[in-house]
Structures are given as C-alpha cells and as structure tokens.
C-alpha cells in the first residue's frame, strides 16, 4: 500500500481504480469550504459514480434561526 508524504495534489485523486480501495486518514482531514462547528451528513450521489457530497445537518430552535445542533 502506498503512503503519501506531505504534499499537495492538484486535481483528482483516484484510489482503487477498478478494484476496491480504502482511504485512511491518520490525523485531521480538512474539508474545503466546510463551515466551522457545522455538522454534516455524507450523501452518496449515485451508485455508479460513487460521488459523495456533504449535506449540512442543522437543528433549529423555535425561532427557526438559532442552531441547537
């Protein structure tokens, strides 16, 4: 199994092209564009492409604007 050293990858990173592969992050993984203290749900867009996206997950108080979660 290959291990990436500290680096930046410009463009797509494909893991397990054609075969099953696993991505392990032994530390912090930062999501570009994510909101601080924002809970999110990972949503798989389709079964063929396997693309996933983050969906904001919020519970609002009675006023509809104050976040409880």
């Amino acid at each position: 199994m290959a291990s990436l050293q500290p680096t930046s990858i410009l463009g797509n990173l494909i893991v397990g092209d054609g075969v099953a592969g696993t991505v392990n992050c032994n530390g912090t993984m930062t999501i570009a564009g994510g909101g601080p203290a924002q809970y999110s749900i990972l949503r798989q867009q389709s079964g063929t492409s396997g693309l996933v996206e983050w969906i904001a997950f919020v519970v609002y108080d009675t006023d509809g604007t104050t976040r409880l979660f």
Partner: protein, 301 residues
C-alpha cells in the same frame, strides 16, 4: 400554517433512521391528549360543564300544567249558580342553567417547547434541517384540530352527553341536571350529565423526537410533559379562543342528548257545592305531550 409532523426513531443501533410519523402513529398522542383533558374536566377543572354559574351555555326549563279552579257564591235565584269550568294553567317548576368554564390559558414558553416539543422537517436535498415546532397554528394543524374532531365525532373522550342512563363504557355520571315534571311536581324523567373519560386506546406508542442537549424521545403518555405542559394548555386555548369543545343548548354543533319538557295533554273536570260556594275544577290528566326540547350540542370551533 402547516402540518409539522414529528419524526420518530426507527430501527436499531446498527440500522438507524428517522421517520415522519403517520396519522396512525399520532393517534395515541391525540387520544392521550383527550384522556388528559377529560381528567381535568372530571376533577372540575377548566373546560367543565356544570349547572348553575353564569349561564354561557343555555337553559332547560321544566314546566307543568296546573289545575284550574273557579268558585261562585249562590245567589238564591232558584237555579244552580255554577261558574264556567276554568282553564288549566302552566307554571315553571325548575330552570336548569348550564355553564362551562372557559378560562384563558397561555401558549407554552419557548423553553418548554424546546424541552418537551418535537422536531419537524424544514430541509431540502442540500440542507438537512430540522426545527423545534413552535407556533400555535402549527400545533392546531398538526394535532389539535384532529384531536377535537375525534372528541366530537369519534370516541367522544373529553366530552359530555345528556342521558337518562349511562351511554356506555367509559362514561362517568356527573349527576342529575334536569327533571321533567308534568303535574303537581311529580318527577317523570331525570336526565343526568355524563362525561366520557376513557375509551380503547388506539395504536401503539410511537414517540416523537425532540432536541434539548441531544436528541430525545418524547413520551406521549397522558401524564407526560408533552401532553401536560404543551398540548393541554393549547387545547384549553382552543376552547377559550376558538369555540372548540364549547357547549350550547339548542344551538349549532353535534347533538349530545336532549332534555324533553312534557305536560299532560288533556284534563278532567269536577265540581262541588259547599254552601254558599259552587266550585269547579279542571285537572290535568291523560297522556303527555312535548312542550319543549332542549338539545345539548358540542362544537368543533
């Protein structure tokens, strides 16, 4: 203004999901709200119907025919001096005044809504948002209107009836309220007020999900905070401000039993001479006829 259907926890620790409750899922909560409301009425609390008071419901009057009497002194003219037979009269024997307590209640605080209320969906495919239910109209559309309709035309729990004997299982006798007299204060039929306090509980228990310091399952028990602190005051507000579960006599709404005032429909005559008076009487007798019907009605709004 819209239905704000609660979520409930579905699944197990390994297959977890939230589902929107169906109408059937909420049947037990509606029933328990009616059950709790009935308990308040049965304890002579806010919303109860009783006799006496300020008369904001109506009256039922019991009348009867009275004997007619006429007398005439002899005038020594050589013939009998009978007076004409008198007519019978009528009198009011009793007037029953019905009153319902309709004391104002307040909408629950935001803190209570947060602590005991449920979450509803306010999201989209790109934003998974839930919100604590809060507005009165949302509660009305989601649960109160259906609860009231079921009280009026469904299992009737939390409502009254007028009847001469128990309407069935679950009805509590609140005492005699009207007695029909036809003559000489002779009671013919006694009508009682009955309160439905229980029925067969529908469905299984499905608890809504709320959020305060974490996702919490809300008990739908009749003595739980969701029913007692949130929904019961709101139901009382519907009674006070919206006319729901209000009672009237001979007005609009769904009939809940009648009180019938009857009187003798014919009469007999008699006479007697006691010197110096010729006396005649007309006395009610025979069959009975309806003079007035007093229908107790309950309204949904």
């Amino acid at each position: 203004m819209a239905e704000r259907t609660p979520f409930y926890f579905n699944g197990s620790t390994t297959a977890y999901s939230l589902r929107k409750m169906t109408d059937a899922n909420m049947a037990l909560l509606r029933y328990n709200l009616r059950f709790a409301y009935a308990a308040v009425l049965n304890a002579n609390g806010n919303g109860r119907l009783y006799t006496g008071g300020t008369n904001n419901v109506g009256q039922a009057i019991s009348t009867e025919r009275t004997q007619g009497y006429a007398a005439q002194a002899r005038n020594n003219s050589g013939a009998a001096d009978w007076p004409a037979y008198p007519a019978t009269g009528t009198t009011t024997r009793a007037t029953t005044t019905f009153t319902q307590t309709r004391s104002a209640d307040t909408h629950p605080s935001d803190a209570n809504l947060r602590d005991y209320g449920w979450l509803y969906w306010q999201g989209s495919t790109t934003s998974f948002n839930m919100r604590v239910i809060s507005t009165e109209t949302d509660f009305v559309d989601t649960i109160l209107t259906d609860t009231i309709a079921e009280a009026v035309t469904g299992d009737e729990v939390g409502t009254y009836r007028i009847a001469t004997s128990t309407p069935g299982t679950g009805w509590v006798d609140k005492g005699a309220v009207y007695t029909n007299h036809i003559y000489s204060n002779s009671a013919q039929v006694v009508y009682n007020l009955w309160l439905k306090t229980s029925a067969s509980a529908p469905g299984s228990s499905t608890n809504p999900v709320g959020y305060n310091s974490g996702f919490k399952s809300r008990s739908v028990a009749q003595d739980g905070s969701l029913v007692q602190t949130l929904l019961l005051p709101m139901l009382h507000r519907r009674v006070t401000t919206n006319g729901a579960l209000n009672y009237n006599i001979n007005g609009s709404g769904t009939a809940r039993g009648s009180m019938i005032d009857t009187r003798y429909s014919s009469d007999t005559t008699s006479e007697s001479f006691v010197d110096p008076l010729y006396k005649r009487w007309r006395t009610p007798s025979g069959g009975v006829a309806t003079n007035a019907t007093y229908v107790l009605n309950v309204t949904t709004s």
